[in-house]
Symmetry: C2
Subunit: 394 residues, 2 copies
């Protein structure tokens, strides 16, 4: 178990160009079972309620018009109340609406990470790619099952005063930071007068409990990034940043230059949906459904692919683990893709995309039947790949 989340770099990969995941999404056929993306289950989308909301929205003067760069006030007020209710006092001016959480990360890194930032290893690929594209030097700190290597973190944070962390059901590993780790990280950010960017994209997808965000312990030294992509609908491209106005101000100016503002229609739809009172019920429904799906995938992996070692997550959308050390998970993934199933090799989640035996499996998108079939394909491919390696004395 101690090998988990501790990467053995064999050699450097090619420089990152496009995201493996998004390239895969564009080429896979409809009969390929994909464990690759972080796609929500379409059958859980609240289509009827959104249709109803859209009828109301189109009756709103200006639903199709330009709107202000920071986001429509009523949605920002709701988000402010959401944070205040969890003890993190927030006003609507502490909320900036973004075109998905991805834009939040792009903008934040262009403003605050240009001299470098601490990142998790492994970390969310879309963040690493955005930060790299924007020329931000990355200082990776290894994850462990309760959070980070704290000594390494503090040492690197003292230099950069910036960190990007996903404390809840981390992408890709699925781990959650303990409360003690969150508090300790908050202390370090305050003592160093730095900033921690906390990505809360998965925080509402808990199977047992929601932990208080790290931001609660350092409200003025954090930017909390949120998303409607995992809880409502990714197609809306709707996210936000919560933080002190003085931290948000330069982000707002850059946001305005990047796309003027986020879709008025998407904002109004989410606002009306929230207003309808249906959100709480919807969240309970998807949490229960994703827990069942997580159980189903864990069962398939355990029974069909026993060489794959993982810790079952308590929320989120991913099971992460490792094949035996000698396996090149990227080569295995490409072979699986040819056979009709695909996952993401773990090396993709490290700066420089090194070779790795680790792998991430998404459980939110596939049906039980697809899981069974997909893991069977992967298990067979794995067996023939391993036999081939052994025959060739690799």
């Amino acid at each position: 178990m101690k090998k988990l989340f501790f990467l053995q770099c064999h050699k450097k990969g090619d420089p990152v160009k496009r995201s493996f995941i998004r390239e895969i999404l564009e080429v896979i056929g409809s009969d390929t079972v994909s464990f690759a993306g972080g796609l929500p289950d379409e059958s859980l989308f609240p289509i009827e309620e959104m249709q109803k909301a859209s009828q109301e929205v189109f009756a709103t003067p200006g639903a199709l018009q330009y709107s202000i760069s920071s986001g429509i006030p009523s949605l920002r007020e709701k988000l402010a109340s959401y944070y205040s209710a969890m003890g993190l006092e927030t006003k609507s001016e502490n909320i900036l609406i973004t075109t998905g959480a991805q834009q939040a990360l792009d903008l934040i890194s262009r403003i605050y990470f240009t001299a470098g930032t601490v990142v998790e290893a492994p970390a969310y690929l879309g963040a690493l790619n955005a930060f790299s594209a924007n020329g931000c030097p990355l200082h990776p700190v290894t994850l462990n099952p309760t959070g980070l290597d704290m000594d390494a973190f503090e040492e690197k944070y003292k230099q950069t005063k910036r960190a990007y962390l996903m404390c809840d059901f981390q992408n890709p590993t699925g781990i959650s930071y303990t409360d003690a780790v969150r508090q300790e990280l908050a202390r370090i950010s305050v003592e160093n007068d730095g900033i921690i960017v906390e990505d809360g994209a998965y925080m509402e997808l808990f199977f047992e409990e929601r932990r208080a965000p790290l931001s609660l312990y350092a409200p003025h030294n954090t930017l909390h990034v949120g998303s409607f992509s995992k809880t409502l609908a990714p197609g809306l491209r709707l996210g936000w940043i919560r933080g002190d106005t003085k931290l948000l101000q330069p982000i707002l100016a850059l946001k305005e230059r990047s796309d003027l503002h986020t879709s008025t229609l998407s904002q109004l739809l989410a606002d009306r949906f929230w207003e309808s009172g249906f959100f709480g019920k919807h969240l309970r429904k998807i949490r229960a459904a994703y827990k069942r799906k997580c159980d189903a995938l864990a069962d398939e992996l355990t029974s069909q692919l026993s060489d794959f070692c993982f810790i079952k997550p308590k929320g989120g959308m991913f099971i992460y683990g490792t094949f035996p050390d000698e396996i090149d998970a990227k080569e295995l993934a490409m072979r699986c893709l040819k056979n009709g199933a695909v996952f993401v090799p773990g090396g993709e989640f490290y700066s420089g995309a090194p070779l790795s035996a680790e792998a991430r499996f998404n459980f939110s998108n596939a049906t039980s039947e697809e899981m069974r079939r997909g893991i069977e394909i992967i298990a067979q491919t794995y067996k023939s790949y391993k036999d081939h390696r052994e025959r060739n004395g690799a």
Copy 2:
């Protein structure tokens, strides 16, 4: 007349922070008559047809799901046909959907303008701001009523091999480049193996005729930027880039890192609306309405504010011109704002926001009654400001 579009810089303004226009949009009261933004007339939005489209869209599997970074195929195919029909052969892989034309400009400048670009003087403020924010050195070339100062253009383009031009109903000036100028600019781009970014945001808003885009004469050396904001609905945040795939590829990679993809819902709505066959009729309707509005504003300006000198445009959304040289249009605009009407001072459209006597008036958003009242306020404010200056011997 020869003074038009030829700026006398008195002194450098403050460094550009946020857009004057967007800041104004956020603070003006509902009883202020605004000639400031480039807002379409909300009463012309095809609300019923969009409502109908939304009902169909919500029946589409995946309407709320993630989609591919380059944009949904059927919308890209329609845009490709649109260009092919005007003689500019285009396939769907030559189209990249963006989150408004603003994102297109942000992305293009981050990839292609980092070593500098030629820009028009005056130019679209959102472009200047995005390019500046991205650290792109700007090389302004003065506009004249038929296009650009060609000698200055060629000299600067030979150094930068990059230019950003709005050939149709330019924002802010309203001028259109002649066919001869377009062909000459195309020749220069090809001879220098450079790129011209042609912003076609207003090209469909013609009152008399649509000219062939500059891109037609240099299909491999141009990136043509388009937008649904002026023709359909800005609230959707929907634009695109047309260009060679090898030019689009790095933009696509950056787009993916910036916001993954543009709202699936916005794309599907525009696609369905287009498919309904209503777009042509809608365009004819808004062209006729904007022509009437342009006439109305021109009449008000001529009769109430005869010191303001302008050339009436043949399309677009703006009347641009100049007050007598000694007037500081920014101070006048701020005085007018206090009195209940606002326009954009011309200095905002120049790199460095210098003092200027020029001004831009939008005619697409206000009603005839608001125009009459707004120009009356501006005329009275102008008179008292001029009297005040004369009394003080300024």
